[in-house]
Symmetry: C2
Subunit: 295 residues, 2 copies
């Protein structure tokens, strides 16, 4: 994952090597900030409106002023791809913190937020999308306001690390048995042709791809039911999948070492993956459906 040379900051574009942060920065001392990860396919943003809207919602929720107005944000984000001559698949990471100030929980009197955004090349995770991934379940110990996409990600880090130590792609999080989402993606269960997922309350991230999955279901006449499912429901499920901006619509074929529905991606997951590819404007050459292995 190569990082492109030019970074966006609150003061315009800088070169990678020219950007450092003060040690007394509220991002570094309190995680006092927010972020977004935006997908880029063939040099074009996917779901950029949804990401930018959520960024401003997160900022408002923590009373943080975004250094630019929305119109300028779109302008700069597009410029970020241009100055780096991005033509392929990539992701943009953008974060905003409440800036540098003498350490105090209370906000600085006149906060000067720090922003940076960079682009990294990122191919689609095709083999995972084709074969599906393994997961484990983990208790959800995160704070109550996960709808804010904040930099307080330590519980997510610890859950994902535990997953990786078990050779798993993701950790499915649950509060006393009730599945909320995954460590960095939303979680779904399919039963009798219906898709179940945790409602978009304050304790889960309102994923941009999650919103799209809801739309795809509507288009495909699949019931999309915002009701939490239980860990104990998982092994009776017809299909399980997850979604995020980098994982797209990703089949889950194993949970806690046990296969789900025979260990192969399910029919509805496949339909949603196909809808995703169409929605994202992915061309035949990039599709996971271009070989003969899938219908």
């Amino acid at each position: 994952m190569t990082m492109h040379q030019h970074l966006l900051t609150q003061n315009g574009f800088v070169r990678q090597d020219d950007l450092t942060y003060p040690f007394e920065e509220r991002g570094l001392q309190f995680g006092d900030g927010i972020y977004e990860v935006i997908r880029v396919y063939e040099g074009t943003y996917y779901l950029i409106n949804e990401h930018v809207e959520r960024l401003y919602r997160s900022a408002e929720a923590i009373k943080l002023t975004v250094p630019y107005e929305k119109k300028k944000m779109y302008h700069y984000l597009n410029e970020l791809l241009q100055v780096n001559d991005v033509k392929g698949d990539a992701k943009v990471y953008l974060q905003i913190t409440r800036g540098s100030a003498a350490r105090d929980h209370v906000f600085p009197e006149k906060p000067e937020p720090n922003l940076y955004a960079y682009v990294k090349d990122l191919p689609r995770p095709k083999s995972f999308l084709e074969s599906g991934v393994s997961t484990i379940t983990q208790p959800d110990v995160r704070w109550d306001w996960c709808y804010i996409k904040s930099l307080n990600l330590l519980p997510n880090v610890l859950a994902k690390q535990t997953a990786r130590e078990h050779d798993c792609f993701e950790a499915i999080l649950h509060k006393e048995g009730e599945v909320t989402e995954c460590s960095s993606s939303n979680a779904y269960l399919v039963k009798d042709g219906k898709v179940y997922t945790h409602p978009a309350k304050k304790n889960i991230l309102h994923g941009c791809v999650r919103m799209r999955v809801e739309q795809f279901c509507r288009q495909l006449n699949i019931d999309f039911i915002e009701e939490p499912f239980q860990v104990e429901d998982i092994h009776e499920a017809d299909e399980i999948f997850l979604s995020s901006s980098t994982a797209e619509v990703m089949p889950i074929v194993s949970v806690d070492g046990k296969s789900i529905a025979g260990g192969t991606p399910g029919v509805i997951t496949r339909k949603l993956q196909q809808a995703y590819e169409e929605d994202a404007g992915l061309t035949a050459g990039s599709s996971i459906f271009s070989s003969n292995t899938h219908a």
Copy 2:
């Protein structure tokens, strides 16, 4: 609060101006780190063993390797005061993050933790200690593992900021009415001569001063009862107070705009403040009891 010139890092001492952080640092992107704030009175640490022990416990809880062994940590912390010629009242802030790495929730293969510690002058908050402080109650929306002194402090920041916007010193946090602690201190209620506080479970910080308050109570024959109290109990209380390394044993004289027990610090709080001063070796000149206003 002047910061002293010389900072401790994982590579030894550096001057303030020479320390910057990479933007792709796990502290800055995930809050993936831990910290301590240690009190210094007249150039000498107070409760340093307790803080160092907790630092290593926090590190272990998030599977982070502290760059030095304990013995060396003590050595460097003492050197930090010496090289800066600290003779007065101060605080040391120390944090350790999992280091710089390409952004990924999963730990880097070979993490190289970053550490820094600085000293700032900090006089005792005497007028607050004498008169007591105002507080407000706020819902506790933090994660389940607040016993880890992590850099994920956004909920604490938001609660403290709300307190300050109401001209209050602190926010008393509660989970559905049950008081856990404050945004950066532990909380106590006194009723019928007994001290009540939330048990040292995983969802509160196990304060170093809290441990001392327990010991002071034992010495003073005051029952120290580790049972949570309710927000609704507060206005029936005889006394309320909080404790932390910088706030010491601090009387609370107002909660949510209503006076507690007449709006003056209570007898047991005063006894514990006196025990604190003795334990910390605070001399007559520095004592809040040296004037005639207090018995």
